[in-house]
């Protein structure tokens, strides 16, 4: 029982990341009708927003003090992070909290990147075949990841968890189990709650704002909305920006769990496509549900008991589910009837 609960919890944070990326993919597909293979790259760019911010605030001034000698007998180098020079102790706190702070940097950056991408390239592909959309966004994804590689190098750059939330949260104690029987790393819990928060915000935005209502109407029937004299294109552009922000934030907060590397976008993209397909192309609740479902299933499949019965299942479970869903129920768990069928 504990083991099952533990796997359930383990799947939640990864599931959260899948859900956030799949949500953006679905928004873009639903509004613009574009299959965006560069969406994973946006997740990766978000992660590198965190890296950038950390590198900026940990820039150091080096003062060589000839009066003092180091243990090696050479003049002592005193390194002080700029943030500390400027803000004193508060600067040290800033450095400690660099990951959550990066959200502030990531929101405008990702919004700009998203809008630039849509206006610059994707807009020219609305009327072109899906194959060409796939190809151009695929190329774009390669460009983005290679630019990141050129700037930040090929190796993963690990990002620390703020010291206050390191360690684990004793879930077992809450459920009346023995203390320490079932613990869950604090940051994973935070990531899960964070993803729920973002998902809630996106749904609330779509449901309760006029902007969101127009976008939803546009997703249902673009032409009619266009006939009402509403400039749906501009709203869709902003929607693309929002999808980019969602993916970016998912990336920022994921950095302590997976040290950012330039190719993580593609790794997550392939999985997120599977998530979208399982959830149902064009269905936002489907994307979210399937994200968590697949995260949890993947976590179960990597239990050693399961792997003993079916070797290698942890490696292929997600793809296997996608294949079965596509063949048996092509519109996915929650897809609209007739959506992309046949």
């Amino acid at each position: 029982m504990d083991a099952i609960l533990a796997q359930l919890l383990n799947g939640l944070d990864k599931g959260g990341a899948y859900a956030l990326i799949a949500l953006g993919l679905t928004l873009v597909f639903g509004t613009l009708g574009v299959v965006n293979f560069a969406h994973g790259a946006l997740f990766m760019l978000g992660a590198f927003c965190a890296v950038t911010l950390r590198q900026l605030i940990t820039l150091e001034t080096v003062v060589i003090d000839p009066e003092q000698l180091s243990a090696w007998g050479s003049p002592l180098e005193i390194r002080t992070p700029l943030a500390q020079t400027w803000f004193g102790d508060f600067g040290a706190v800033l450095v400690d909290y660099s990951v959550p702070l990066s959200i502030v940097l990531a929101i405008p950056t990702m919004l700009l990147i998203g809008i630039a991408m849509e206006r610059g390239i994707i807009k020219h592909f609305y009327k072109r075949p899906h194959a060409e959309q796939i190809l151009v966004t695929f190329g774009l994804a390669i460009v983005l990841q290679e630019v990141v590689k050129a700037i930040f190098g090929p190796n993963p750059i690990s990002q620390p968890i703020p010291s206050a939330v390191r360690g684990a949260f004793d879930v077992g104690a809450m459920l009346g189990l023995a203390p320490g029987a079932l613990t869950y790393p604090m940051w994973r819990l935070i990531y899960f709650l964070f993803s729920l928060g973002i998902i809630g915000a996106v749904f609330a935005f779509l449901r309760f704002t006029t902007f969101g209502m127009v976008v939803r109407a546009g997703m249902a029937d673009r032409e009619t909305v266009g006939l009402l004299g509403i400039n749906i294109d501009r709203r869709f552009t902003i929607m693309f920006g929002i999808a980019a922000v969602v993916a970016g934030l998912a990336g920022v907060m994921y950095t302590p769990l997976l040290p950012p590397n330039y190719h993580q976008g593609m790794d997550f993209l392939v999985l997120s496509f599977v998530v979208v397909v399982v959830g149902g192309m064009g269905s936002l609740p489907g994307a979210v549900a399937a994200g968590f479902l697949l995260g949890i299933l993947q976590s179960f499949a990597s239990m050693s008991e399961v792997k003993q019965i079916i070797p290698g299942i942890d490696q292929i479970i997600i793809y296997l589910i996608a294949v079965v869903i596509l063949l048996v129920r092509p519109r996915g768990l929650m897809g609209r009837r007739g959506m992309m069928e046949s």
Partner: protein
């Protein structure tokens, strides 16, 4: 002999193509690419690309999983070396057979959907193959360390015919082991055969049916065609071409690694086909050569070469220019590749072949013929 029949124009194309391929060691000399390892890559990638084009270019199905068949071909060929013989023919035979079977199963399932769903399905199957090769199938694939020949391989047929050689053997053809330039010519002949088969497919009624399926599947079904066996045949043929390419990679260098199956390899063959010209006969070959050549040239560049190139500029300008430019070469070659991909899809969806046609129609009057009817005024509708 209908088996070898082709129109005079096609035969001329084949003859020119054969001369170009077989003369590679000569015309690649001034380009600095006339060494066997690279020329082998040119030829093998061309096979991979023309096979892929039969599915994508002719039939209109965009697969993102063809690297899986390339990998399967390589593994099968190496196992044929290890278990049976170093002869290239059985290796090719088994590789094509096994990759064809894989393609049959994956194609049967994937082709039940079309459009992006087909692309995602092939991607999912290829990722499954890759992940399995990397993990549970390690006894067969040797995982990360790649499958290689060892001194203790049984090589049943070879050892029955002759005593074991001292070192690791290399691939052979009817007892004559070859390497270097001979290896290139072996691959070149295989390419010519593959190219001829492709020409036959393009010119045949079967090829016309595939084109018609790409053009309008609804009309095909109402015209009395059962389209699924057609698309499946195209899928299996292109999977077998990929397996053949994989086998040739293993023949020129008896090694099979998982990286050959990664989805980036699938992406590369898509790019080769697009860059050269989707659906054209020669386009994919040109695309493959273009990419392999520039990959080789660009990735060999390093910062000092770039600096030397820009040294005619004053230092204040040269340094930053060289710094930026150096990001596009060497390790950064992939960046150039990605940019090229975007630019081609945006500006030249027909690839190099379309570019050539456009330039051709600028100079000569040999562009698309305008039939007399086209000029006739059409009644308003």
């Amino acid at each position: 002999m209908t088996l070898f029949a082709l129109s005079r124009r096609d035969l001329a194309v084949f003859a020119v193509f054969a001369v170009v391929v077989l003369a590679m060691p000569f015309w690649l000399q001034p380009l600095g690419a006339a060494y066997p390892a690279l020329m082998q890559k040119f030829v093998i990638s061309a096979i991979f690309a023309i096979g892929f084009n039969i599915l994508f270019g002719l039939t209109g199905y965009l697969s993102f999983g063809h690297a899986a068949f390339l990998g399967v071909g390589s593994y099968t060929a190496v196992w044929s070396f290890k278990l049976l013989t170093m002869d290239a023919i059985p290796a090719i035979f088994f590789a094509v057979l096994v990759s064809g079977l894989f393609a049959l199963v994956i194609g049967y399932l994937s082709l039940r959907r079309s459009g992006i769903y087909f692309s995602i399905l092939t991607l999912a199957f290829a990722q499954m193959c890759y992940n399995l090769a990397y993990s549970v199938l390690t006894p067969i694939t040797n995982g990360e360390t790649s499958l290689q020949l060892t001194l203790s391989d049984p090589r049943l047929i070879d050892t029955a015919l002759a005593p074991r050689p001292a070192g690791l053997p290399s691939a052979s053809l009817f007892g004559h082991s070859f390497s270097g330039l001979e290896g290139f010519y072996f691959c070149a002949v295989v390419l010519l055969i593959a190219f001829f088969v492709t020409q036959k497919i393009f010119a045949s009624p079967f090829g016309m049916m595939l084109r018609a399926i790409k053009s309008n599947q609804t009309r095909m079904t109402y015209t009395g065609f059962n389209t699924r066996p057609y698309t499946l045949t195209a899928f299996v043929i292109s999977g077998m071409f990929a397996g053949l390419a994989g086998a040739l990679f293993a023949i020129t260098d008896p090694l099979a690694g998982t990286e050959r199956m990664q989805w980036t390899a699938s992406g590369e063959v898509v790019l080769m086909t697009i860059l050269g010209g989707v659906g054209t006969l020669i386009g994919p070959v040109i695309g493959a050569w273009f990419i392999e050549y520039f990959e080789n040239i660009f990735s060999a560049f390093n910062e000092s070469v770039v600096h030397a190139f820009f040294s005619f500029l004053p230092a204040e300008i040269a340094d930053p220019v060289a710094l930026v430019a150096s990001k596009f070469v060497g390790e950064g070659w992939q960046l150039t590749l990605g940019l090229l991909f975007v630019l081609v899809v945006v500006f030249l969806p027909g690839g190099i072949m379309e570019g050539v046609r456009r330039i051709g129609s600028l100079f000569g009057r040999r562009g698309t013929p305008v039939s007399p009817g086209a000029a006739r005024a059409q009644p308003a509708e």
